[in-house]
Each structure stands twice: as structure tokens, then as C-alpha cells.
């Protein structure tokens, strides 16, 4: 064997690519995984499922008090009315207020409501966030530009079970009379995890 081989780190991605392809081909050729199901879910995350779904839920809650009450009571049931497909068996929606700031983390892996937010971002899966969010949430929030006053309660939700958590951010002031569609544009994925707030009207995209 070529002695230089094990020092050549540029080989590593190729090894992964070969193994990833071999694993998939074997499972399909052996009839274990249906070829039709291979790409279906990934394509859904590429084209259909993403934070715009969660944003639509948040915007509806901002304009319809009855929907908001239902959402806080039973998130999975309320969301089923506006999002197609299974989101989660159990979904708990956490309302941020002037007195309370909620923040979601999965210290053990990367769980969060992918049916409403899409696949999780790298920072959510990263060691810095997973290690620190439970220990020093205020420092983490400040680091990403979200200052929380000392007298505001901070609740960190460690998403370690199959229950999924979605943060309902506060509706920005200056958005009175806005349509749901316009409001939804203010709601980013990070606000629904609780690390940021909804964008203000001055930050709305000019479309």
C-alpha cells in the first residue's frame, strides 16, 4: 500500500462518498429500501418543507386569537389545520412575552420540529450551542445579538424526547393591520428556535 495514503486527507471525502453510495445501492438492490422512497423525503426538504411553514403558523397565531389559543393548547392538532403532512406526534408551542423568553436546544443530538422548520442548521447541531444553551443561555443569546433583560425569565427547553418544541415569537410593533402573508416574512427559523426575535417592519423584505 502506498505509504503516503494515510496522510493524504484529500482522500477522506472520496471514501465517504464511496461508502455513502455503496450503502444506498446495496439497500436498494437487496430490496430493503424502495427506490421510490429514497429521494422523496430529501426532495420534500429541498422544495416544500422549510421555515416558511412555521412562519405561516406564527403569523396565523398573531392575527387569530382563537388559533393562537388552540396552538398553545395542542400544537400538533392546531398545526394540522394549516400544514399538510405529519409534523410531530406531540408539538408544544412556547409563547415569548415581555416577561418570558423561551429557547430550544437538543443537548444530545439535533431534535427540533423539522416538519415546520426544515432540516436543522449547522449551528443548532454544533457542539458550542448544544453545550452552552442549557448552561449559559443569556450569554449565547447575547452572542447572536439577542439581549434579554435581567428581569425577564429565560426557559431553556432541552428537546430530548420525541416531543417537539416551537417558539412563538412576539409580534413586532408597527405591524398593525398587516396581512398574514406579510407578517410571515418577518418570522425566521432562528426566531422559532428562540435565539432571535421576529424581524421588525423596517427589516421586512421589499417585495
Amino acid at each position: 500500500m502506498d505509504e503516503s495514503h494515510e496522510h493524504d486527507h484529500s482522500d477522506v471525502p472520496d471514501e465517504l462518498a464511496l461508502r455513502a453510495q455503496a450503502l444506498q445501492s446495496l439497500l436498494v438492490e437487496k430490496g430493503i429500501v424502495a427506490e421510490a422512497s429514497i429521494d422523496a423525503v430529501v426532495e420534500a426538504y429541498e422544495h416544500r418543507i422549510g421555515p416558511h411553514l412555521g412562519a405561516a403558523v406564527v403569523a396565523r397565531a398573531w392575527v387569530e386569537p382563537d388559533f393562537k389559543a388552540a396552538l398553545l393548547e395542542d400544537g400538533a392538532a392546531a398545526v394540522a389545520a394549516i400544514v399538510q403532512g405529519r409534523v410531530a406526534h406531540r408539538l408544544v408551542v412556547l409563547e415569548n412575552t415581555d416577561e418570558l423568553h423561551n429557547l430550544v436546544v437538543c443537548t444530545l443530538c439535533s431534535c427540533y420540529p423539522i416538519g415546520l422548520l426544515g432540516l436543522p442548521p449547522v449551528w443548532y447541531k454544533s457542539a458550542p450551542y448544544r453545550s452552552r444553551a442549557v448552561l449559559e443561555p443569556r450569554e449565547v443569546l447575547a452572542e447572536v445579538g439577542t439581549e434579554v433583560d435581567d428581569d425577564v425569565e429565560v426557559r431553556v427547553w432541552d428537546s430530548n424526547s420525541e416531543v417537539r418544541y416551537l417558539v412563538l415569537p412576539q409580534r413586532p410593533s408597527g405591524t398593525e393591520g398587516w396581512t398574514e402573508e406579510r407578517l410571515a416574512e418577518l418570522v425566521g427559523r432562528n426566531a422559532m428556535i428562540g435565539v432571535e426575535r421576529a424581524r421588525g417592519p423596517e427589516e421586512a423584505t421589499m417585495s
Partner: protein
């Protein structure tokens, strides 16, 4: 198990860096791995805890060095070889040379059934997360073990992760427990802060 994945409360990993414009996948093999995973789980015959278990049981140094999708790939390979569906030789050659046995008989696509026994704990009960060092897959992280919290909600049934990691399904009562930050981290923690976490019944014992 007390693996490198159990990160809550650790120091030294540096700042949280939020990238607003990252791609869904950073390489084709990541997409291939994700599609394989979703395809395998669409069979309904594997528990997510089996995926987690095979990620967590790696050498901690390997775990920390791997990217997210690399962990999936390692774990998927371990799962299918453990189930006898694919051999390590086949993974190396990329060519099938054995017949796959039937898929495991278990069903993980249905929603958890409520356990038939009466829940041990009620809302408002003070509970202690059991101090123990399980070598099996667990969802009781180290930072809550031995700490006292209050039961805030009873969800119903949840498969016990210790067994689900082995592909065996048995539901237990699942509770939401609130821990004051000071109980978890000491007197320097902010007095208004708390951590909420979901714990199955066998992770808990009554606290005075």
C-alpha cells in the same frame, strides 16, 4: 451511555456561529446519506434511538471529529450490518453477495400507546432524576442526574430509549420536568432561569 454526545454544560467548544446562507447539504454524499436514512426509516422497522445509539457508542474522539452526516453514515452502516441486512464486505466492495434476511419485525411508525399502569407521579410532584451511569443508550443527560425538579406535565406514553436503542419497544409514562438553573449549575446561575426536559418514569424517583 456517558458519551461525547452528552454535551449539556460542557466548556471549551467556542462561540455559537450562525451562518444565514448555508446550503441544505454541503456535499453530494451528505444528500445521499440523508436520502438513505429517510428511506430506511420509511420502512417503519427501525427506531430513531437505534440510529442515536450507534452514533453515541463510537470512540468519543471519533464522534467529536465527525461532521453531522458522517455520524449518520457511520451509524446507518452499523445498524444495517447489526441487523444482518448488509455485510461489511459488501459495504467495502459495493456489490451485493448475500441475500438479506427479512427486516426486523418491530413497528415504529405507529404513535406511542399510553402505558397500562397508573402514572407514579402527578403534576407538582418533586422528583429527582436518578443518579446512575447507564451503559445503554439513554435520554437522561448527565447534567440532570441526581438533581431535583418539579413535574410540570404528563404527556402519556413514550418508548423507553434504553430498549428502543436495541430495537425493542416498551412504552413508559413521559413527564416534563422543570429544573431551576441554580439546582443544575449552582448558586451563580441566574435566579430567573430554568431548564425544562422530558423524562420517562424509570429515570425519576420521588424527592422530599
Amino acid at each position: 451511555m456517558n458519551g461525547a454526545h452528552d454535551m449539556g454544560g460542557m466548556h471549551g467548544f467556542g462561540p455559537v456561529v450562525v451562518d444565514e446562507d448555508e446550503p441544505l447539504f454541503h456535499a453530494d454524499w451528505e444528500r445521499t446519506t440523508a436520502s438513505t436514512l429517510f428511506g430506511l426509516f420509511a420502512t417503519g422497522r427501525f427506531a430513531v434511538d437505534q440510529l442515536r445509539r450507534n452514533i453515541e457508542r463510537q470512540d468519543p474522539a471519533d464522534y467529536l471529529a465527525q461532521s453531522y452526516y458522517e455520524r449518520w453514515l457511520v451509524s446507518l452502516a452499523a445498524m444495517v450490518t447489526e441487523a444482518g441486512l448488509v455485510t461489511e464486505e459488501e459495504l467495502s466492495s459495493g456489490r451485493p453477495d448475500t441475500e438479506a434476511p427479512p427486516l426486523p419485525d418491530s413497528s415504529w411508525s405507529t404513535t406511542p400507546a399510553p402505558p397500562t399502569d397508573v402514572p407514579l407521579f402527578s403534576l407538582g410532584d418533586r422528583v429527582r432524576a436518578r443518579m446512575r451511569q447507564p451503559t445503554a443508550h439513554t435520554r437522561e443527560p448527565r447534567y440532570v442526574r441526581g438533581r431535583v425538579g418539579v413535574v410540570e406535565h404528563h404527556y402519556g406514553g413514550e418508548p423507553l430509549p434504553e430498549l428502543a436503542g436495541e430495537g425493542i419497544r416498551r412504552e413508559e409514562h413521559l413527564y416534563r420536568v422543570r429544573f431551576e438553573a441554580g439546582e443544575l449549575w449552582g448558586a451563580e446561575a441566574h435566579s430567573h432561569d430554568s431548564v425544562y426536559i422530558d423524562l420517562v418514569e424509570s429515570y425519576l424517583e420521588p424527592a422530599p
